[in-house]
């Protein structure tokens, strides 16, 4: 059967039936499972009500699901073709919200689409991965290992990161930077360059500190010592650990999380949703969510490695890394291992843009898998 599938690639054309047959439904199942868990927790967060979060989240999830399935049917070469266009379009949107903010509409980070608020910075996570994948697809290892060869991709990263930092949205900027870093690492940029960057970064830290906003400085200081200000900046971390720790192994039961329902837990429907989940479902619930994410990530790597094309592989690794960063940063944050930077837990936290960008990412990974036998040349595009 696979032989037949592979043969149909000879003509580099797949019909709809082939594509549908090759969508990984176990992968889709894992994603839906996480989505359902998310909606369940949001139902509890509103004290057992569909309103205001769970119902909206369901609609968004369904839209995101449609987007994912649609993208799964897209020809891989299409992503390659429009990678730069997409990147520039998002860059323009970023500049637009930036200018819009300066003109006096307030610090807007989003464009209202009616059913959701679109954050260009969130779209950039996909756009940058696509653009970098296209760039590295067309270059040589020699170029990648040279200094000159990474100037252009570095610029492609720095410009949107800068725009997002001044929004200010430190969390997203760091995620973009780390996602790009993962891709640079994957394509073979020498480790000493990372070491060099790391050292110069550390040296520039005091300078960077100077440019941080006060609330950002507070978050870092509070992370280092939550007891510094237990009712102010440290409150989130302390309350999160109390809610989580008091959940124990089995949790307090669905709708029975005392700390979250009594509002001791802040942002329980967004950034701290993992805490609420772990309070009500205990370590068992928490570990289940981690394992589901672990499976999704493992699947994604499997799809990446199975892909015949360099572009497909790199794109899948980039998107997976971006997703991984969401998960690891959010959970580390609520467990008090990282400063509170405002990164949601994808598929579970309430929030439209994240669902869209993450589902789009999954759609692309599905497409990479569907198109795994397509070979894309270095000079294609």
């Amino acid at each position: 059967m696979y032989k037949a599938y592979e043969t149909s690639f000879k003509g580099q054309r797949l019909n709809w039936g082939d594509k549908l047959w090759n969508i990984s439904f176990s992968y889709v199942f894992l994603i839906v499972l996480l989505g359902v868990i998310g909606i369940t927790i949001l139902y509890s967060a509103a004290n057992g009500s569909w309103y205001p979060w769970a119902s909206k989240q369901l609609i968004r999830f369904l839209i995101g699901f449609a987007l994912m399935m649609a993208l799964a049917f897209v020809d891989l070469r299409w992503f390659l073709r429009y990678a730069y266009w997409f990147y520039f379009l998002v860059l323009i949107l970023l500049i637009a919200v930036e200018i819009g903010g300066h003109i006096g509409m307030g610090a807007q980070r989003w464009i209202n689409l009616g059913f959701m608020k679109l954050q260009p910075s969130e779209l950039m996570k996909i756009a940058l991965v696509l653009a970098l994948a296209r760039y590295f697809n067309s270059t040589t290892l020699q170029s990648i290992e040279s200094i000159k060869g990474i100037i252009v991709p570095t610029a492609m990263v720095i410009i949107p990161v800068f725009l997002i930092i001044i929004q200010p949205d430190l969390g997203t900027a760091i995620m973009l930077l780390l996602t790009a870093g993962a891709m640079f690492f994957t394509v073979g940029v020498q480790l000493w360059k990372f070491a060099l960057l790391f050292c110069s970064g550390a040296a520039a830290l005091p300078l960077a500190w100077h440019f941080l906003h006060n609330y950002q400085k507070n978050r870092v200081l509070t992370f280092l010592d939550p007891e510094r200000d237990p009712l102010g900046a440290g409150y989130h971390i302390i309350q999160s650990k109390i809610a989580l720790g008091s959940g124990g192994i089995f949790g307090k039961g669905f709708l029975n999380g005392t700390q979250s329902h009594l509002n001791f837990l802040p942002e329980k429907h967004t950034d701290f949703i993992f805490t609420m989940l772990s309070e009500e479902f205990g370590m068992i619930g928490g570990v289940l969510v981690i394992i589901l994410n672990l499976l999704i990530i493992s699947y994604s790597y499997f799809f990446a490695l199975r892909s015949a094309s360099y572009f497909g592989k790199l794109m899948a690794v980039g998107i997976t890394s971006s997703y991984f960063l969401y998960v690891i940063i959010n959970i580390s944050m609520v467990l008090g291992m990282l400063p509170v930077v405002g990164v949601p837990l994808p598929l579970i936290s309430y929030g439209g843009t994240v669902i869209m960008s993450v589902m789009a990412g999954f759609g692309i990974i599905l497409a990479v898998n569907v198109n795994r036998f397509i070979n894309i040349g270095k000079d294609q595009g």
Binding site: T140, L141, Q142, I144, A182, F185, T186, V187, G188, Q239, K241, I242, A243, L244, G245, S246, G247, G248, I249, T258, Q259, L262, N263, F264, S278, G282, M283, G286, V287, I290, N293, L294, I297, S298, Y301, A304, L305, Y310, K313, L314, V317, T320, S321, F324, V327, I328, I331, S332, L335, M337, K378
Partner: protein, 607 residues
């Protein structure tokens, strides 16, 4: 093409490395989760409960204090306060304005209310006015449709129905101060009051009761979500006192405007029936918070209403001490019924003259007559014969010179001097002249009225060392007290002398005598000099007491018991600057004993 192959290989190996790294980090998270949710779960469970459970103490009602017949001396009265819950009222201004129409609020009160509203969350009840009467509270309740969010809160406050006549015994309650020992979480409650003096302080532990508590689940903003657990407290125990409110009333009635003290007790049990120190003050003032003007007024009064003269006032016993001197001599064998002395109005010791109060002298008399006439010369000589040591020892046997430890604060020891005491106090040796004036209760000797009541009771009950108490006794068995070992014969002689003071012509307190169904009193007058009589006055004639300014007049004293032939009640009366024991103090003692005897016949619960 070779390089392109390498490029693909690098991508694969680096992807695997990246993937492994990411999976490893996810595992780390699981360990952290384990650490928080399993290893530290107990700690966080405790913290979670601390977060959400707020324990509030329920103040127990304070024990009631009764007199010996069950009359309430200190009780609790309901008091009401009006509170407002800002979130339940539509407009704070409107509600306050309407409230003011029913009950005026001062500008200060309104300022405080608005400040409290600003500083609290909108569901926290804010006090508008407290100490409301039942009438005021119902008036507010009647208008409650117009006063949304206004509620009436009930509380208990301490109330002393007898006010000033009980103040020096019962004491009062007041807010806990920093000096008080904080051995009970109740003491940290705002507005909680504890006994600060008198019985309220003495029986604080019994009266206070045990706090109950209510465990409430609160949310992050402090709003109460539900009641988790309610543990009822225990009300304070009732305290039954030995006092008889009717005698107490009588004592204050008799003292009138005078400054003084009356202590009356049962001679067999030591139960205190009346305990008065005048003038007094209204303890309700203290439990509701004393104003500065009132405090100043009380403190500056020359009659010292805040001083408990019955235990903290020190006075020379004067002639009331003569029984002690007589007994010391009788017991020591230096005196008996047949020993007579002659009084010519004065006696010489070296070049010093000691005068009798009667300038012309009493002639020849024995111990009984000497007591009856209160002859000074007789007791000068007696004291000189037996010496200060024996006098002091006998005085101590009768409870003089040391605290009775009846439980009222600031009680004083008084002084029963002897050679040793003087050496210690002044570093000087004892003089014979000092022994002589000690014979009539002057000199260094200082006693409190309650000590004098104890002394007369011990004489009356046949030499049992009764101890005064405010606790109602279950029986009247005096033999549970130590017997002082004084011969009944000698005691009878002294008692006979006291009988004649009141009931036989020539006695110093003849005017105070009564005969109630054949029951009579026996007693002894005394007056304590406040100002020494100088040589010049002796020559030019002693200034009459009435002509002296109030504060230089002698203190008037009288100790007595009744009935003479079967003593049940002992009393000591002191009237500061009352001039004459026989004219001022004796009638008070007489009236007190008569009242007690009358009440005896109708000894049933009242009110």
């Amino acid at each position: 093409m070779n390089r392109d192959n390498d490029k693909g290989k690098v991508l694969i190996s680096r992807s695997i490395a990246l993937g492994v790294m990411q999976l490893f980090l996810l595992f780390m998270i699981v360990f952290r989760l384990y650490y928080l949710q399993v290893y530290q779960a107990d700690k966080y469970k405790t913290l979670a409960d601390e977060n959400r459970i707020s324990t509030r103490l329920l103040v127990p009602s304070r024990g009631i204090i009764y007199d010996r017949h069950g009359v309430i001396l200190a009780g609790n009265q309901q008091n009401f306060q009006a509170m407002m819950i800002p979130e339940q009222t539509h407009s704070i201004d409107n509600t306050l304005n309407l409230f003011k129409k029913i009950m005026p609020l001062s500008a200060d009160e309104e300022k405080r209310i608005r400040k409290d509203i600003r500083h609290n969350r909108s569901f926290v009840p804010i006090k508008i006015k407290d100490n409301l009467s039942w009438e005021q509270a119902t008036q507010i309740l009647l208008n409650s449709p117009d006063l949304p969010g206004v509620i009436i809160d009930e509380g208990l406050s301490r109330y002393y129905p007898y006010g000033d006549i009980m103040a020096h015994v019962i004491g009062y309650v007041a807010a806990v101060s920093d000096k008080d020992e904080k051995d009970d979480p109740l003491l940290d409650m705002p507005g909680f009051k504890i006994g600060k003096s008198g019985i309220e302080k003495l029986y604080e532990k019994e009266l206070r009761g045990k706090a109950g508590n209510v465990k409430l689940e609160v949310n992050a903003f402090g709003r109460i979500m539900k009641e988790i657990e309610l543990i009822e407290g225990t009300a304070g125990n009732r305290v039954d006192l030995s006092l008889d409110v009717r005698l107490q009333k009588k004592a204050y009635e008799l003292l009138g405007e005078e400054s003084g003290a009356v202590v009356m007790m049962k001679v067999d049990t030591g139960e205190i029936l009346a305990f008065a120190s005048a003038p007094s003050f209204d303890p309700n003032m203290f439990s509701n918070g004393l104003s500065i003007e009132n405090w100043k007024k009380l403190n500056q009064d020359e009659k010292k209403p805040l001083l408990n003269k019955a235990v903290a006032g020190l006075y020379s016993p004067g002639s009331t001490f003569k029984m002690v001197v007589g007994l010391a001599a009788l017991e020591g064998g230096a005196l008996n019924t047949n020993k007579y002395s002659s009084c010519y109005g004065k006696m010489m010791l070296g070049n010093h003259t000691f005068h009798c109060w009667k300038r012309d002298g009493h002639g020849t008399l024995n111990i009984v007559q000497a007591l009856q006439h209160s002859c000074d010369i007789f007791f000068y000589e007696t004291a000189q014969k037996i010496g200060i040591a024996k006098i002091a020892s006998m005085a101590r046997k009768f409870g003089l010179g040391s605290k009775t430890n009846v439980g009222i604060e600031n009680e004083k020891d008084g002084i029963i001097p002897d050679a040793e005491w003087k050496k210690k106090r002044f570093g000087e040796s004892w003089q014979l002249g000092e022994t002589i004036i000690s014979g009539i209760g002057q000199g260094y000797i200082l006693t409190t009225p309650i000590q004098l009541a104890v002394m007369v009771s011990r004489i009356a009950n046949g030499g049992y060392a009764v101890v005064p108490t405010f606790q109602k006794a279950d029986d009247s068995d005096k033999t549970k007290f130590k017997n002082l070992g004084i011969s009944l014969h000698n005691l009878d002689l002294v008692k006979r002398g006291m009988y004649e003071v009141v009931n036989v012509a020539g006695g110093t307190a003849l005017g105070a005598s009564f005969n109630f169904n054949g029951q009579q009193m026996a007693g002894k007058t005394g007056s304590a000099q406040v100002k020494r009589i100088s040589m010049r006055e002796r020559q030019t004639g002693v200034i009459k007491q009435e002509d002296l300014p109030w504060k230089f007049r002698d203190h008037a004293l009288f100790v007595a018991f009744a009935p003479y032939d079967n003593p049940r009640y002992g009393v000591a009366v002191l009237v500061e600057h009352g001039r004459s024991g026989s004219k001022v103090a004796a009638p008070i003692a007489g009236q007190m004993l008569l009242e007690a005897l009358k009440l005896d016949t109708t000894d049933e619960p009242v009110d």
